[in-house]
């Protein structure tokens, strides 16, 4: 049982740090609350869906950034979608960076957009890795202990 409690603690710590470090917000809790017997892996499914969809949006944005002349409206639209999407799992940092990007779009500031976009991709990747680790750990905890 020592092993399990160790992992348990690690999982709890991981989750806590995700919140403490501002990667996730209360929306994530809402998702956890939705999880039930009918959808025992709901959170993971949703997160997976999010990363799949958001990766697509990021690719779209990348393509739009490469095109000239720059279509700020289109970029803004993509970021708006990404912002909405990231709010679904409580991905705070990603969401905030989307807002920043849109701000630069409004100003027609391409440089700002580009640098913001790099940050965005970074945040997106970091969150993805952290959550993947988290869910991996979660599966190591026995179902009965899975809180």
């Amino acid at each position: 049982m020592m092993d399990h409690s160790h992992i348990h603690r690690e999982v709890a710590n991981m989750k806590r740090s995700l919140f403490d470090q501002g990667y996730l917000d209360g929306q994530f809790h809402q998702l956890e609350d939705l999880e039930d017997d009918l959808s025992p892996n709901f959170v993971e499914e949703v997160v997976t869906l999010f990363f799949r969809d958001s990766s697509r949006l990021i690719r779209n944005a990348e393509q739009a950034l490469e095109k000239t002349p720059h279509d700020f409206t289109k970029l803004d639209g993509i970021m708006y979608q990404l912002k909405g999407s990231s709010s679904s799992i409580g991905a705070v940092k990603v969401r905030n960076e989307c807002s920043n990007f849109r701000g630069f779009c409004n100003q027609g500031n391409m440089e700002g957009c580009l640098s913001s976009f790099q940050k965005l991709k970074r945040e997106h990747l970091v969150l993805r890795q952290k959550l993947e680790n988290y869910f991996q750990m979660l599966t190591q905890v026995t179902p009965a202990e899975n809180v």
């Binding site: 809402q30 709901f42 909405g84 999407s85 679904s88």
Partner: protein, 571 residues
Amino acid sequence: MENSFPASRGDNFPAGLRVLVVDDDPTWLKILEKMLCKCSYEVTTCGLARVALDMLRERREKFDIVISDVNMSDMDGFKLLEQVGLEMDLPVIMMSVDGETSRVMKGVQHGACDYLLKPVRMKELKNMWQHVLRKKIHEVGEIENQDINGFNHMENRLEEFNEKHIHSRGDIGFAKKRKDFDSKEHIEQNFTDAASVKKARVVWSVDLHQKFVDAVNQIGFDSKSGMMNVPGLTRENVASHLQKYRLYLSRLQKQNEEVTFVGTEQSDLRSKYTSGTFSLQNSIAIQGDHTPDNYRLLAKDIHLKDMIPKISEDHLIEGRSVQETETRFLLDNSNNESEKISNVSRFGVSAFTDERIPGLDYKRNEICISEHNQSGFRGSQLMQSTQLVRQAQKSLTLKRKCSQLQQAGKHRHFGEVYLHTPTPIYSIISGVGDSSSPSSDIPLKFNDDSVSQIEHSATDTNFLKAASKTDSSPSPESYSSDYKNDVRCLESMTQKVSVKTEVELAFLNDLTPYSLQSYGFFEDIALNGYGVGEDNLTTDIRSIIYDEWQYNCEYLFDLLEVPMIDDGLCT
């Protein structure tokens, strides 16, 4: 005379509400689907606006309400909103991650019933069914004539509502068919009238609003008056304004995080009522003609075990405060109504000290109870308090915290107050519909402020006063007139509830003017998610509990509101 209330299949309304969710974000679509399922709604999802429109056109009667994102790839959400409103006349709720006022305005202008900010909360979705109901009622309300016999009206309204739904839905999810041939003609006439009637827009100027507030206040004193005496102002105008007013009041209350705590306390108190609910059940069963069908239905649907929230009493420290406050409430009830009302009006003025309340005495619990074995109103309160006395194991901190609550001096507490009163009925309701209590295993966190709410809600503002002892009582000036109104609402509501349980039709008539505001109040609390982007919930736990409570709360009171909405402003 019966007042039937539309109930979905199995009298489980609003469970089974058929929702169409339209969102091009697959993540949100999945989340919303799950959330709506948890609300016991029947969910259909759609990722494309055009497909959604086709679905709606094809089978308009298949849905009760549409919820759609504003920003969609294939079609502007506002356009969809417009189309749905025009073609199908279904209530539509808009969602967006963007809470910009201009967008919200646009939504409202295009006819949205509500505008939710993403991330959407459960409680906002749980309130959805109210839009459906409200739409129906307002449709009927527009065409009603100035018939003082509210029951007939409501009957007709509901009949019409029923008709619409019965004919469109084979399984009569929504309505109870009623065989009232007399009203049928009336209904047909109403239908034709409805087609030609246009909603008159009433502009609520500052003066008009003041008149409104005065009338509301006055109603507390005299059930027969309280007229605004404004020509051209229909009951419906006032009703809708009243609703907004309530929303405003509830927004004042929303500022406190402890709101959810009330919910937890509420459900905790519910457990106290379980044994007492038997008597309620009986009285409900006895109701006979005076009871709306919903009550009877509810009574039948009572599952005591469901009613007992699993929130343990661990959350409350042992004490007698609730008991005490309840009886204190009774004590004050010994005063006649007018005095109570005057107490209410002095509410803002009084410091919330026990000493201010004449005759209060903790030890006189039993005596108090026996003294008030009178009218139905008091009788039911008696019943309630007796139950409390029997079952009360509650914390002293409740009382203490009441005073702390007073220190907070927040209006919304009082808005919450009346919640306590209908608790027994809550209990009944909670057995109906989605009463699965996620709160059961959730450790409750105590919020000092919310504790007092529970006590307050013991159906009497005096109770509230008694319960809220504070060293630094808020100054009278700190309470707006709204607050006083809240208190009155509470009071009225309490009376209202009591009456219903006691089958005192006479009382009912006297109190009908109150009913609207009372229920509205409830509605306010319940409609926590009404505002755009407002969210002050601290813990999810609390919000869940609050949701549960609120859900039951609003369910009950909206049900009650239906028959009373007409009488409420009847003069």
